[in-house]
Symmetry: C2
Subunit: 490 residues, 2 copies
């Protein structure tokens, strides 16, 4: 009885979440600039309403009584998640939620314009406000859970993740990556496929056709264009975005494969639980593992690339100008670059480690926003040998995460990459036909395996438990290292 | 104090309204079909939340205390609207709101498909459910206000409108229209401009360019395509839609001018009141007067058409194949047709009167859904001389209004047309330069006049008061009759 009341409350919260997701997609894809102020107010109010529903006084007692009720294992797991959401929310005052929501949206909206103008100075006060509010939130959670501020933020994005775990993993992978990078940089570069222009309409068709290969359900989702690619919407209606570059078709194509990985996770979550916490995706590490297993493991593997080579529209003159080997090699190019989202899988974790080190220090108040550019420049030089001085646009202003207040989010990208390698290794070992299928453009067995091991469980297991069940051990960076050595012949 | 609490509550309600408006636009323009079930649930939940906020027990007392507070005239008027909304909402049980919301969306979603399949039998049970729930709602309101069911629905769409007023107006206009129609049908038909195909992209450009002429603010709105044209979104971000027909450019163009009229009303409402009831558009008669003053009065007047003739893209061969007089005459074509939204302004009110007569009887339980097709066929034959037997798609299944439960809405279209004629007559009398400006493609003085007389007042005055202030008398059908006689040289 108490439990079913809670379910009803969470289904209301889910309705607000549905609205916020679609509004978020709309803001990035459709909304004219002038709509921002009223939109920000509306979104802030909806966030507060959701927070109010979550923190109603009666909920505490409902949870206590529900815990004594006889529940199925799914219901019991759902109740645990309800309790986790409640506990986190009860700590944060509504006013802080509203302020954070508005500050994040304002900062992100200004970031869009100011980034293209390379205008750090005007951008800084917006970011300072977001940092201030993020520290406040983190402090409140840290006090309660008796952990560090940054730990509190990490746990929000992936239950069970801590700074200590992160530090251990990053300390181990950083020297490995820098070492491999030095080796690779001594080699000659693969050829460049950028002999465009590649018509946007044809790129879009190719993207849509690859999404079909991947079994994206177009009856429950769509593909659009946005400034920064993302996967949004709701599981019954997943909204992917990509961005097209007329000179480089791989950008949109690999971006689409990446976001489709996210989308397939959402589309294959347990539908009957779609309005309850237990029916949602696990956390950001697991989500990222699902995009990267598609993009980095399957999508950039020789098998699928061999299929893709044949699928490239003839008018693009790829098959005429490049051999299949050259084509594949081009997708395995490793190069230190400015932009995280354009980075290869070897330099990518270094982009992340850099951001992690800065944001952790920022949240722990060891540095201030003012210190970001210098730190950024130093670390880019140290890890990737790249000079970013004065180049904010392609430096510390390149990502939306800090503007919207997503501190603690970046590390999940790399942990997701490691998880993806570990999952893919296990999947191929168990079902060797995955690779032959990919060679024919089919993701069937890989999808089935992922549905069974992970997607269909919703939020029942932590990322460590999922890995344990699917691969026989918790998160390990060995499969990723093996993958890197094999793919890049190191 | 109580009043400012009420304002805060209504600004929360407005945030839900914002979400519902954008979700509504999204559903019609963007959402894949498979997203419907979860969307319907989310929208129903949000509607219930809005209803709960509106009907909180404390609100009654807050209103009573606020009524004794010293308030500015806008605040006092706002409080009156708050009270009206509260009184209407308190009568309707949340469960009925939810059921109506879901039934309306289900019926409309099925209607989209079933209409194209001309499938009345499958559609019927969906509509019956909507009718049943609409009757329930109407009955509850009617009992309270001591009026007829249909009166209660009319008052919801336009405060102060009654069945009695409607009956008087329709009784007077019906024989006039039928008589004029008989006269016109004896004339030879104007030439047909349908020598397409007219490329959709170029039609879109022309639509956008005319919207600029009309001073549509693209920083606070956008134009898209939907199955059925509408004006949605919020006043800070107005979402217009149109539909393009490659064989007939007038369809999208005049549709766009019509919806832009609605949009200009929204965009010029008092911004500082955008989250309060007083800051909203008046009602549906007034809203429709704003679209029709643009489409029928200004847009199809000789002056603007003369400008438009020169604006038609050269590649369409209009100027080569038709004289300006022929072009203008084509826009003044009168013809009995199946489709309301394609109807000219002379036959349009007959389409409305037909619907009014049917829906009034339906709501008052004098007829059942089963009786609709026969009644439709009889009246179409009587008023317009058209045989619709078995043709549901272009007969009683052509409009979304009944599917979504909008009973009482149709009459406002024609009353809006009469109001538009009355307003335009007064505007041109007061500011004769309006016509010379239209000849040059400018809507400047007309926009200013409408802003001053109507748009900037939000919900301060009833439609009768607005007319009284702007034209010196309440709603009259004389200006519409004069307009018809003049435009069609009768």
């Amino acid at each position: 009885m108490s439990y079913s009341q809670l379910k009803e409350i969470f289904s209301q919260i889910s309705a607000i979440g549905h609205a916020l997701s679609i509004l978020g997609w709309d803001e990035a894809v459709m909304m004219p600039e002038g709509g921002a102020d009223a939109r920000n107010d509306a979104v802030a109010s909806l966030s507060v309403m959701s927070h109010q529903l979550l923190t109603e006084e009666q909920n505490k007692q409902l949870i206590e009584v529900a815990e004594k009720e006889e529940l199925s294992s799914w219901d019991a797991a759902n109740l645990k998640q309800i309790k986790r959401n409640y506990n986190e929310a009860i700590l944060l005052p509504a006013e802080l939620i509203r302020e954070s929501s508005i500050a994040g949206m304002e900062c992100e909206q200004n970031w869009r314009k100011l980034r293209t103008e390379n205008d750090w100075e005007t951008f800084k006060p917006y970011l300072e406000k977001v940092v201030k509010l993020s520290r406040q939130k983190a402090q409140i959670l840290a006090d309660h859970y008796n952990c560090s501020r940054y730990d509190a933020l990490l746990d929000h994005f992936e239950e069970g993740l801590t700074g200590e775990k992160l530090e251990a993993i990053f300390n181990e992978i950083k020297p490995f990556l820098i070492e491999q990078l030095v080796r690779i940089q001594k080699r000659s570069q693969p050829v460049d496929l950028k002999n465009g222009p590649f018509p946007i309409e044809e790129q879009k068709e190719l993207s849509l056709s690859i999404m079909e290969n991947m079994s994206f359900d177009f009856n429950h989702g769509r593909l659009d264009v946005s400034h920064h690619p993302f996967c949004g919407g709701v599981s019954s209606d997943v909204r992917l975005t990509t961005r097209y570059n007329a000179d480089d078709f791989a950008e949109a194509l690999m971006g689409t494969i990446h976001e489709t990985g996210h989308a397939l996770y959402e589309q294959n979550l347990p539908k009957e639980w779609s309005t309850q916490p237990i029916g949602q995706s696990r956390g950001m590490i697991v989500h990222e593992s699902q995009s990267l297993i598609m993009e980095m493991q399957a999508g950039r593997g020789e098998e699928f690339l061999s299929y893709l080579y044949k699928k490239i529209p003839e008018g693009w003159n790829i098959q005429q100008n490049f051999s299949e080997d050259d084509f594949i090699a081009a997708y395995h190019k490793v190069e230190s670059g400015f932009i995280r989202v354009d980075a290869d899988e070897l330099t990518y974790p270094l982009h992340i480690i850099l951001r992690y080190e800065i944001e952790r220090a920022l949240i722990e108040e060891e540095i201030e926003v003012d210190d970001i550019p210098d730190l950024w420049d130093d670390k880019m030089m140290e890890y990737l040998g790249i000079d970013t001085k004065g180049n904010y646009e392609n430096g510390c202003m390149q990502d939306p995460h800090w503007p919207f207040g997503g501190f603690g989010y970046f590390p999940t990208y790399s942990l997701g990459a490691f998880m993806a390698a570990q999952l893919f290794q296990a999947a191929v070992k168990e079902k060797p036909q995955i690779q032959t299928e990919l060679q024919a453009g089919s993701f069937e067995t890989l999808n089935k395996w992922l549905n069974e091991k992970l997607r269909s469980h919703g939020r029942n297991f932590t990322y460590e438990e999922i890995l344990q069940q699917a691969t026989g051990q918790g998160l390990s960076i060995e499969p990723f290292k093996e993958h890197i050595k094999k793919r890049y012949k190191l």
